[in-house]
Symmetry: C2
Subunit: 222 residues, 2 copies
């Protein structure tokens, strides 16, 4: 499904370069459940952003469904992303002036779904993460874990084939966190591909493969 | 040191009220190490904001060092806060256009410390959280865990007597997270008062007392 070949990503800071990703090669089959682990700053979110078409590498190839994605236009990448990928961001990235339900219904606009149906679908997913009573709250009117759950609901609302979850339970108590992991596990059981960044060993156990990063390189796969 | 008596905090949403805190009474002695736990949305951050003088309750009393703080002016509360409290926010709250070191030196301005000395102290604390190589990065040029560590460094830079840590290791791998907890444990060993919000049982074990919240109420103290 997804093939990264010799992927590198650098940031120039003054006279030096930071190698956020350093010659990464990784093949991900459809339906896999992958945990991505490694120290803070090792390149996990950068890798997720490239896989999720939110960023482009400086070197290397990214082949998605047998299509070479390097060189595709912004518009073409956005099209694939909106159709195929649900992204739970480490920093949530919610629209601050919109309510929870308004934030969650957003990805459905690209699928041409009418507003009434978008709102009812968004309400359903928010109910699944126990936020039925918080649908009309704006992000500033929500707790940290409630914001995280809005970000989760938004990632799942259009039933994506690939779910990229960047530390999706970091702000949740264990009971709520386990409920979210059960939702993700079930999506994988339905055949969806899951990439889950976590630094929690017990969460990583839900995956069937673990990839370890260090200083922008893959150092182990289990 | 710190006495909360019948503290309540409400938010009006349309016709209904949300009781974020519901008749909370709590006494905290100087030098205590308290873990605050409870489900997502149970009122932990709201409680921390009131204790840290960032918010005022709707009902009840808050006596700090034998001084009644209800009714103090914004300026007076800011004075106590800047002198006494170091706050690690759940959502970091860094200034986006300033570098890590600029963010960290900020609290020292209130203590009248000259700029050269502020920058050298800020560099020292950033070194203590392993961010020596990232001092000049802006928040958008940092990973999630690096931003969290900048927020931690900023909270500790002026040697506060009271440290309020709202889920300070949620974005950190276990090695880095344990290094941070060791720093916090040592500060408590020096006599500082620590309030630590966590939903992780192993982290809560570092404290000598645990307070459990549910629906804005204290339901247990161990
Ligand atoms: N400005 C606001 N307007 C309305 N409701 C609010 C507002 N701020 C917080 N709340 C509500 O108050 C409740 C308590 O929020 P708080 O942030 O204290 O929870 P918390 O225990 O820190 O949760 P978490 O573990 O998810 O961070 C939440 O249910 C939240 O939706
Ligand atoms: N825009 C940027 N400019 C400069 N350096 C950057 C930029 N974005 C990221 N970096 C650096 O690239 C490295 C990898 O960042 P990344 O966010 O991928 O780490 P991570 O593994 O997700 O870390 P964490 O577990 O803390 O979230 C970090 O050391 C970071 O400082
Ligand atoms: Mg990250
Ligand atoms: Mg909170």
């Amino acid at each position: 499904l997804l093939e990264l070949v010799n992927i590198s990503k650098r940031y120039k800071m003054g006279d030096i370069f930071i190698n956020a990703l350093d010659d990464i090669s990784l093949t991900i089959e459809s339906g896999e459940y992958l945990a991505i682990m490694g120290p803070s700053g090792s390149g996990k979110s950068t890798l997720m952003n490239i896989i999720g078409f939110l960023d482009v590498p400086d070197d290397g190839q990214y082949i998605f469904n047998n299509q070479d994605t390097i060189g595709l236009s912004e518009k073409e990448l956005a099209y694939i992303r909106n159709r195929q990928v649900g992204f739970i961001f480490q920093t949530f990235n919610l629209l601050p002036r919109e309510s929870a339900i308004e934030n969650v219904q957003l990805p459905l606009i690209y699928s041409g779904i009418p507003r009434k149906k978008r709102l009812s679908r968004a309400a359903e997913v928010l109910d699944n993460v126990n936020l039925k009573d918080r649908m009309n709250h704006k992000p500033t009117e929500l707790s940290g874990g409630e914001r995280q759950r809005v970000a989760i609901a938004r990632a799942l609302v259009n039933d994506p084939n690939i779910i990229l979850a960047d530390e999706p339970t970091g702000n949740l108590d264990s009971k709520t966190g386990n409920e979210i992991l059960t939702v993700i596990d079930n999506l994988n059981a339905q055949g969806r591909t899951i990439l889950l960044v976590t630094h929690d060993q017990t969460i990583a156990e839900h995956a069937n493969k673990k990839v370890f990063l260090k200083d922008g390189k893959i150092v182990d796969i289990k």
